[in-house]
């Protein structure tokens, strides 16, 4: 056949195409009918509606041509729902096919029948399904096993009444490994949505059957079995050991997802092990496969790196000598580089810090701005984690500042501010160097950091008042984050050098209270003013109070132990990639189509929360992600369109993995303690690392209001209390989450003093 006579399936002539196809489908020639069906499928693929051809296509179903049959089945799966009455035409052929001598056709028929979600088909499905579950041919059995899950999804009662669940449970002991695997898959899925949770309880007998099949299954079957094995609760340490021994060989599998699934089982079973020697041996065996995962495709690497990050938090002793393998290659995709950087910091210790520092310095000279900034922040984190290395880190940062590359300088200054907070009174000598770069700063965060430094060390900087004066020239145009910093710095300056700056402080407070609309800035100015006018001594005690240094723990963004354990249970899944519990991004998982529709309203609300913490699409400006939000709404409204849904539009905060010491963390802890059990409402909040406690709580409050199901009284009670507190400080009226986070992300110093202030006032 030459190229010209080859039929073109993806054509563009839309006019009257359906009519033309109609004729072709009725053609007396088999070839032409087949080509017509192919064109129908091609149209279906590009999204054209060809449901009108239903009767004509279905007519072609009864054929011995397997390819043709498959095409018609494919069509049926897509359009059965829109033509429920006509589906009955197909039932006869289906039932006949499940009796065909060819096992491939038997399996195909039962597979397709399960995918047609029309009640009328269900009536005719049960008998063939029963037969197929008992079929001699394992290929048919394994297909039928999954079909039970399909039926369950539509009608649980029917599946139970017909005894399919029991049959499926028997199939776990089947002689063919793939049947076992599919039975396990089906049962595990049904268990999740069952009411009594008694469909698939992994006990010793089932576990042994699964272990026996594990060695013989194909890779996907192994994953299914490993996933179900993870559910098993061993009776004692000995039993856990024996399971681990059976699972360990899987670490050598070529498929990275098998390895990660095995790692999940091992990490969970480690909790039950009492034998230290065995535990250590196991941990030693786990490291090399984890490193090997870095040789897989970049996307698999990404998933692996996110999981390694979790595993390291749980078992810091793992991979201790392997930091080099996490060094970035020049041509790694950005998302892989980012995760490698995170892991390098986790593995940083006093022995390898020199090596890491020179590597980080190298990264800081690359071209990808986002990556360069992360590398510089990582240098700061090294300094905070390892005291002995702080001086070297500062020197590296000074080198970077001397490159005069604008974004490098700004980021370095932000980082140096954190180092100052951790090691007060140690590196003041570099302040003049920092001040030389004053003019190149145009980002609020960097500006705010330098202003904080000037205010904090006002007594040592001779021309502090000039510098502040210089900044004040543009006071009204500044971002509110900078305004707040300036306000505080000026007050500090005044308290330290009253003689020079009385005029300045007066002017600033006046401007801030009279000309600025932002409630944060205005109210803070009022607070300062009153403090200063009533009792300057008290003002000194409050504003110049000792600030607790940044602690190591808060600087490495560690997950709470509870969340960490939950995520370990979910190694290799989406939850482990996002480092968030599944409930935060899955919405209300409902299992039947109707329930999905019903849940649409609640779902759409949940979505807001997810969008709010979207770390996936990384730093995006709030403006840019607003349409995405709407998009997501539309996405979910798609299937719930029958019900009107009004969703509050909330733009997401700019996510920023800069983990900083912040008081928000403390407030979060407090609130989540009080709302034990309300972790759904607050669970996701932990992800907003840069969010201020006050702002964050504010949102938490709104969310717990709107989340009718997850709400519990304790939660709302506690957040109410904080809402009041926030209101007192004038923080309660922040216009939106986005600005809240923007302002507060890097202004911890001020935030801290303000929180101190507020606490004092109580």
């Amino acid at each position: 056949m030459d190229i010209f006579s080859k039929p073109k399936f993806f054509t563009n002539n839309t006019k009257g195409e359906n009519a033309e196809l109609l004729v072709e489908l009725n053609s007396e020639y088999r070839d032409r009918r087949k080509d017509a069906v192919k064109r129908v499928i091609a149209n279906m693929t590009v999204g054209k509606d060809v449901s009108g051809l239903f009767p004509q296509v279905v007519k072609n179903m009864q054929t011995e041509d397997l390819e043709m049959k498959k095409l018609v089945y494919l069509y049926l799966m897509n359009y059965a729902k829109s033509n429920p009455d006509l589906v009955i035409l197909a039932v006869n052929t289906f039932v006949k096919d499940t009796d065909h001598v060819n096992p491939l056709i038997r399996a195909l028929a039962i597979r397709t029948m399960g995918c047609i979600r029309v009640d009328k088909i269900l009536d005719h499905l049960c008998e063939p399904l029963r037969k197929c579950l008992q079929d001699d041919n394992p290929y048919v059995r394994k297909t039928a096993a999954l079909c039970v899950a399909k039926l369950w999804d539509l009608d649980q009662e029917r599946a139970i009444d017909n005894g399919f669940v029991t049959t499926l449970q028997d199939l776990v002991s089947d002689s063919t490994p793939m049947v076992v695997a599919n039975a396990v898959i089906a049962l595990a899925e049904m268990q999740e949505s069952s009411v009594n949770k008694d469909v698939f309880v992994v006990n010793v007998a089932i576990m042994n059957k699964m272990l026996a099949a594990l060695n013989e299954c194909n890779e996907w079957g192994q994953i299914a079995i490993l996933t179900s094995l993870a559910e098993y609760q061993p009776l004692d340490s000995k039993e856990a050991e024996s399971v681990c021994e059976r699972v360990v060989p899987r670490l050598q599998h070529a498929n990275g997802s098998v390895v990660l699934s095995a790692i999940r089982v091992l990490m969970i079973f480690l909790r039950y092990l009492r034998n230290d020697e065995f535990t250590n041996g196991l941990i030693k065996k786990m490291s090399p496969p984890l490193v090997s995962l870095l040789a897989s495709a970049p996307e698999v690497q990404y998933v692996s790196l996110r999981n390694i990050n979790l595993i390291l938090q749980k078992r810091p002793d793992i991979l201790q000598n392997d930091v080099r393998v996490f060094f970035c290659k020049y041509n790694d995709p950005p998302y892989v580089k980012r995760e490698k950087l995170e892991i390098i910091i986790r593995l940083c210790n006093d022995k390898n810090v020199d090596q890491i520092l020179s590597e980080l310095k190298e990264y800081a000279s690359e071209v990808d701005v986002d990556f360069v900034r992360r590398a510089i922040r990582a240098i700061g984190r090294c300094a905070i984690i390892i005291e002995e290395a702080s001086e070297r880190c500062v020197n590296v940062l000074l080198d970077l500042i001397n490159t005069k590359i604008n974004y490098v300088v700004q980021e370095a200054i932000i980082v140096i501010k954190d180092i100052f907070r951790k090691y007060p009174q140690r590196y003041e000598a570099i302040i003049p160097t920092l001040c030389q770069n004053l003019d190149s700063l145009d980002e609020p965060e960097a500006k705010g950091s330098l202003i904080w430094i000037v205010g904090e060390y006002a007594e040592r900087i001779e021309n502090a008042d000039e510098l502040i004066e210089n900044f004040l020239e543009t006071f009204l145009e500044e971002n509110s984050q900078v305004q707040l910093q300036l306000l505080t710095a000026t007050v500090k300056l005044f308290l330290k050098k009253p003689s020079q700056s009385q005029e300045i402080v007066h002017r600033v407070l006046q401007t801030a209270t009279q000309e600025i609309d932002n409630p944060d800035t205005r109210d803070r100015a009022y607070v300062y003013w009153r403090l200063l006018s009533t009792d300057p001594q008290a003002a000194k005690a409050v504003v110049l109070s000792e600030k607790p240094p940044i602690s190591v723990d808060s600087s490495a963004d560690k997950l709470s132990p509870g969340l960490l354990d939950e995520l370990i249970n979910n190694i290799s899944t989406l939850a482990s990639v996002y480092h968030k519990p599944a409930s935060t991004f899955m919405g209300n998982k409902a299992f039947s189509a109707d329930a999905v529709r019903k849940a649409a309203v609640a779902d759409a609300r949940d979505e807001e929360q997810i969008m709010g913490e979207d770390t996936v699409t990384s730093p995006t400006a709030p403006a840019a992600s607003a349409p995405k939000n709407v998009m997501a709404d539309l996405l979910d409204l798609d299937f719930g369109s029958s019900e009107p849904v009004s969703t509050p539009v909330m733009s997401p905060p700019t996510s920023n993995s800069k983990s900083g010491p912040n008081y928000s963390a403390d407030l979060f802890d407090m609130s989540s303690d009080m709302s034990s059990g309300g972790s759904d409402a607050f669970g996701g909040m932990g992800g907003m690392s840069g969010m201020s406690g006050v702002g964050g709580l504010n949102i938490g409050f709104q969310q717990s209001q709107s989340q009718s199901q997850n709400q519990n009284t304790a939660t709302s009670g506690s957040s109410n209390a904080f809402g009041d507190l926030a209101g007192f400080g004038g923080f309660g009226q922040q216009p939106s989450a986005a600005t809240a986070s923007q302002q507060t992300q890097q202004q911890k110093p001020t935030q801290s003093s303000t929180v101190n202030d507020l606490l004092d006032l109580f």
């Binding site: 399936f9 499928i41 693929t45 999204g47 041509d65 095409l71 897509n78 060819n102 491939l104 399996a107 597979r111 399960g114 995918c115 979600r117 041919n137 394992p138 290929y139 048919v140 394994k142 063919t176 490994p177 793939m178 049947v179 599919n182 194909n218 996907w220 994953i223 059976r246 050598q252 070529a254 498929n255 990275g256 997802s257 990660l260 490193v291 090997s292 495709a297 996307e299 698999v300 990404y302 998933v303 020049y330 041509n331 998302y335 590597e359 071209v367 986002d370 290799s572 899944t573 989406l574 990639v577 899955m586 998982k589 189509a593 997810i610 699409t617 990384s618 995006t620 995405k628 996405l635």
Partner: protein, 426 residues
Amino acid sequence: MISAFFIYNQKGEVLISRLYRQDLKRSIADIFRIQVISNTDVRSPIITLGSTSFFHVRHENLYIVALTKWNANAALIFEFCYRVINVGRSYFGKFDEEAVKANFVLIYELLDEVLDFGYPQNSEADTLKMYITTESVKSERAVMEDSAKITIQATGATSWRRSDVKYRKNEAFIDVIESVNLLLSAQGNVLRADVAGQIMMRAYLSGTPECKFGLNDKVLLEKDPSNRRKTSNTVEIDDCQFHQCVKLGKFDSDRTISFIPPDGEFELMRYRTSDNINLPFKVHPVVIEIGKSKIEYRILVKANFSSKLYANNVVLNIPTPLNTAGVTCTASSGKAKYVPAENSIVWKIPRFQGQSEFTLTGEANLTAMTHKKAWSRPPISMDFQVLMFTSSGLLVRFLKVFEKNNYQSVKWVRYMTKAGNYQIRF
């Protein structure tokens, strides 16, 4: 688990769309086009919008996309996407837009087979080829004849091999291919050096042969006291992965590699070593920036392997700044020229004898820039192939074939070392 599977072209047109779960509608395909394909700043292979997660992999000019509404196994989904690509390549030679468009019916058939209700089933191209074939006529006949046998085999314990393979001459070819990864700091320190090895096998063996395979693996040889005296020449393997035909339990207990191979070519194992690596090439770069308008290069390369061997296709990519106007360079062997599109000097040496050394000297002239931005100095990267040489020192000790007919088989072994990520900072 996988709710839907799409293949797009670069323009974002849907070439293949298959829904496996009813929790999604086809219109979701548009969302991906808008959010990912037409978005220039995508920084993650996983994107969650609403409660739907999109996993994508790019291959040739295609986007392979899997969707889920579950807390799905992310690693599994990506491995699966790559498996689809492999199956596609195995069927069509090249898996690109043209191939997908020309074979969309077959691809639908395959997708129906490899995923059921969103769960991966059998994704071995060799097995699939037994019952899903390109010429429908042939498939019909084949199906009628031995579909029962095929299906039993496809679900069984050795799903990768037919039982009725016959060869007049029984042969097995083993290729040991090592990729050396190197990262050398500007000071000449080795930051990272490791070898990623691959053992490819082409098995043309009749019946159901049981194979045993031996390497100079340090752990294995040191276990056996009788081997003590010759343990000097062993390799310490950090980690290895095997094709699914290898009995992992056996390897874990006594480190023997035994398997029933699939018919034809497959990757038997992958391994990784980082101890005692013989770096095949040493590079000494001297790059000096003279003022703002000139950079001097002097690059010395030395082959570090036996003079009896030689390397093929040696290529060095030596980066130049973005504002390079022109380069003059001379090399003591091979050809070197400035390639503006790659911002580098490309130095090609077709044949590089062991123990020899060559130099390149050159000068890059820079145009004046209005704003001074430091040059990021990307590393020099190198490409090469050295035959009959392994950087790790790995050797194949034996391959034994046991079959009930007890036939003689011929085995061949080849070694090759090539550059993986061979990068030298300067």
